[in-house]
């Protein structure tokens, strides 16, 4: 490509000496043109390389060492993984994170779609609803934590209301019972995520041709039939995307459990999740960075496996 450019330029030149002088300049230009795309990509790539690729490789290296934050440590083979599989809190964390995926993902996929179907349209009232549903997304984790701990506390608003209405005699242990904490956190996750995924669905719904709904109406289809037969197939690829995103987010849940338990992972640490375990092992002056890195690798493998399984099911159902 550079040779062709050079030859074409020489053919136009009437001064052979000038052409000779121009040669290094043109050569430099052609090199620059070849390099240009790489130079454009370079800044972004550098950031990704340093903060993602190098960090990931370093995590991989650390996973096979007994490093702490302040002491580099030495290579110990698979010992960290052996220790993890003998750690009772690992199994608790794995169970909690998996339960989170099983319970939260279906709601994250279906509820925002229903919500998006209800609030689509250009009227002001729909705009108000869209904004209301999206508001939790922009709240900080601290604010969310304060709101929900005040609501769910044994002397909080919900328990006080239920007690005041004589519906319960003892406060519901939203924040003191292992399973209640987990389900409360799941509820908060769904509450937080609804608006976010709703916006994604709204974009997908905008691409469905309105004439399909009109035709269905003429054929006598009701709202449920339209939703199942037009809306759902119309946003199929978005459903897959949201399923993947919410699976990753649910398995890596951290903020909700952290704020509802003041970072203690509940009574006896029974509400610990994989991300909380990584945080607890990997931070502080005596952080076990090697152990935390091994945990991170396990999370990576599990999330990767979940996504592959989803992809397999997806492609089978498409076939």
């Amino acid at each position: 490509m550079s040779r062709n450019t050079s030859n074409g330029s020489e053919a136009l030149s009437s001064d052979p000496a000038g052409a000779k002088r121009d040669k290094p300049v043109r050569h430099r230009q052609s090199v620059l043109r070849t390099l240009a795309p790489y130079l454009f990509v370079a800044p972004a790539f550098s950031i990704v390389f340093i903060f993602v690729i190098v960090a990931a490789l370093n995590t991989f290296r650390l996973a096979f060492t007994d490093s702490t934050l302040l002491v580099p440590g030495k290579f110990i083979g698979f010992q960290n993984f052996v220790d993890i599989f003998h750690d009772e809190y690992f199994w608790t964390a794995l169970l909690n994170s998996t339960l989170y995926v099983v319970c939260v993902v279906p709601f994250m996929v279906i509820l925002p779609l229903i919500l998006a179907s209800l609030v689509r349209g250009n009227s002001k009232i729909m705009g108000f609803f869209r904004t209301s549903f999206y508001t939790p997304v922009v709240m900080s984790a601290v604010v969310v934590g304060m709101i929900w701990t005040n609501l769910l506390d044994s002397k909080g608003l919900i328990n006080s209301l239920l007690e005041g209405m004589h519906l319960i005699k003892q406060p519901i242990p939203f924040l003191t019972d292992r399973w209640m904490i987990l389900f409360s956190a799941m509820f908060v996750t769904i509450w937080l995520g609804l608006g976010y995924y709703m916006v994604i669905y709204l974009t997908a719904l905008a691409n469905i041709d309105d004439s399909l709904y009109e035709a269905a109406s003429l054929d006598g289809a009701g709202p449920v039939r339209k939703f199942v037969s037009i809306t759902m197939p119309g946003v199929r690829s978005t459903i897959v995307l949201i399923m993947m995103l919410s699976t990753i987010a649910a398995f890596r849940v951290f903020n909700e459990i952290y704020v509802l338990t003041n970072g203690t992972a509940g009574p006896g640490g029974q509400d610990i999740t994989m991300s909380m375990m990584i945080q607890q092992e990997g931070t502080g002056i005596q952080a076990h960075t090697g152990y935390a890195s091994a945990l991170s690798l396990i999370v990576l493998v599990i999330v990767g496996f979940m996504l592959i399984v989803q992809q397999i099911f997806q492609s089978r159902s498409e076939n």
Binding site: T5, V25, D153, P267, Q286
Partner: protein, 444 residues
């Protein structure tokens, strides 16, 4: 394909390129210089004076800033070739701040922290061995204070890795109105653990709907105050799973079942304990001498119903004395100047002045004999609290080994105790597991 550039444009481009080069080089130089300014802690400053960085936590405020400004000004006046750079960090995430500073090898010359945080730094070799560098320093402090800053552990020399600074403990605060409601006599406050459990039972039987406190044998101080040896004498093994310790924990398990301890205590933080006390849900709460002033300011109604008593102990003395310490970074470039300043901050005169301001106590020898402490006015709650704390500090000790950090057993003990209280395991299983875990960490 792009057409070739005309020569003029090319020339202009070359000029621009050189201009760009110049700007880029200047930018790089500025960046490098600013990086240089970020680092180099403890270097000489622009005046050619030696700069010592001094980091405290949660002390830069209206109450304490004037003290530190005066302290630093007095030192700089007496040492004109030294300047002190005082930095204060917020209490939230102080451990994370210290660990990131240590990991980046940017620990300030002098660091303020409690023994459990300092232990992690000392074990990683980030702190100066004071026993080695200043063997005479020991004589400046009370023996219990020096013991609290002396660390031992696998891979480290048994030595002091800092200077003791202010000392604190505190009384138990009691809500007298709630005590009366629950059938208890506010003039007979519990002193021993038997008193405590007996009064808790009376409270439960009264059906007053309150809880005794959030205490649940989840801390080294609880076991030590019940006469349990938390570690063996040479500090090579944890021993808090003896039959005596199991029987002690079992009493809390029974009290929890009888609804004498709130379920929230199972993972309660300090702030929650305060909330429970202020809303009148619990009868007793541990605090510091300065907590009285906080109650007076924030809960005046509650303040009028408060009284104070010593911390519960079967030993006749407190097992929960807390020592703050100042350590010197092992990487300091100005060892002598840093040591001199730390000794200045922790000398008897300066410690006394700070202790009076903060309702804490000095660790330097002779400090507690100051006439100020003999004249404490016990007419109000704060005076009473201060007097009880003085006794605790004079006779008491710190029972929590520095190596029993959150990561090395403290948090795990709390979790296992919570599971025992919930009936998910026995008291013995909880303590056996906690001891095994802590011993495992001790030997790493």
């Amino acid at each position: 394909m792009l057409p070739p550039m005309p020569e003029e444009v090319q020339k202009k481009g070359n000029q621009m390129f050189s201009l760009k080069k110049t700007v880029a080089a200047a930018g790089a130089a500025v960046m490098l210089l600013s990086v240089g300014a970020c680092g180099g802690q403890g270097d000489k400053n622009a005046d050619g004076k030696t700069e010592i960085s001094f980091q405290t936590w949660n002390l830069k405020n209206d109450k304490y800033t004037p003290y530190f400004k005066e302290l630093i000004a007095a030192y700089e006046k007496a040492n004109p070739n030294v300047t002190i750079k005082w930095m204060d960090q917020p209490s939230d995430n102080y451990e994370e701040k210290l660990s990131s500073q240590a990991a980046a090898k940017e620990l300030p010359d002098i660091v303020d922290a409690g023994p459990s945080l300092q232990y992690g730094l000392a074990k990683a070799g980030a702190l100066m061995n004071i026993t080695k560098e200043d063997p005479g320093a020991k004589d400046q402090f009370y023996p219990n204070a020096w013991k609290a800053v002396t660390f031992s552990g696998k891979g480290m020399q048994t030595a002091s890795y800092g200077f003791p600074w202010y000392v604190n403990d505190g009384p138990n605060y009691y809500n007298t109105q709630l005590m009366q409601k629950c059938g208890l006599d506010p003039n007979k406050l519990p002193v021993t653990w038997d008193d405590y459990f007996s009064q808790a039972q009376t409270m439960v039987n009264s059906g007053c709907g309150a809880y005794m406190s959030t205490m649940m044998a989840a801390d080294a101080g609880d076991y030590a105050s019940a006469g349990v040896d938390f570690m063996n004498k040479d500090q090579t093994e944890y021993t808090f799973n003896t039959p005596k310790a199991v029987a002690f924990l079992q009493k809390f398990v029974d009290l929890f079942k009888a609804k004498g301890i709130p379920a929230e205590a199972l993972d309660a933080s300090w702030s929650q304990q305060g909330d429970f006390f202020q809303r009148g849900s619990i009868i007793a709460m541990g605090g510091s001498a300065y907590s009285a002033a906080d109650f007076k300011k924030n809960s005046p109604d509650l303040y009028s119903h408060l009284t104070v008593g010593p911390k519960i102990s079967d030993l006749g003395k407190s097992a929960t004395v807390g020592y703050e310490m100042l350590s010197v970074s092992a990487a300091t470039k100005h060892k002598d100047e840093a040591l001199k300043f730390v000794k200045f901050v922790t000398n008897k005169k300066n410690q006394l002045e700070f202790a009076k301001k903060s309702s804490t106590f000095p660790s330097s020898k002779g400090g507690l004999e100051d006439p100020y402490y003999a004249k404490i006015d016990e007419g109000d709650l704060q005076g009473k609290a201060l007097k009880i704390t003085l006794k605790a500090v004079e006779n008491g000790f710190s029972s929590r080994p520095a190596q029993f950090t959150d990561a090395a057993g403290s948090k795990y003990l709390q979790q296992q105790v919570a599971l025992a209280l919930q009936g998910k395991q026995t008291a013995k299983q909880a303590l056996d597991k906690a001891v095994d875990f802590a011993n495992g960490k001790l030997n790493k």
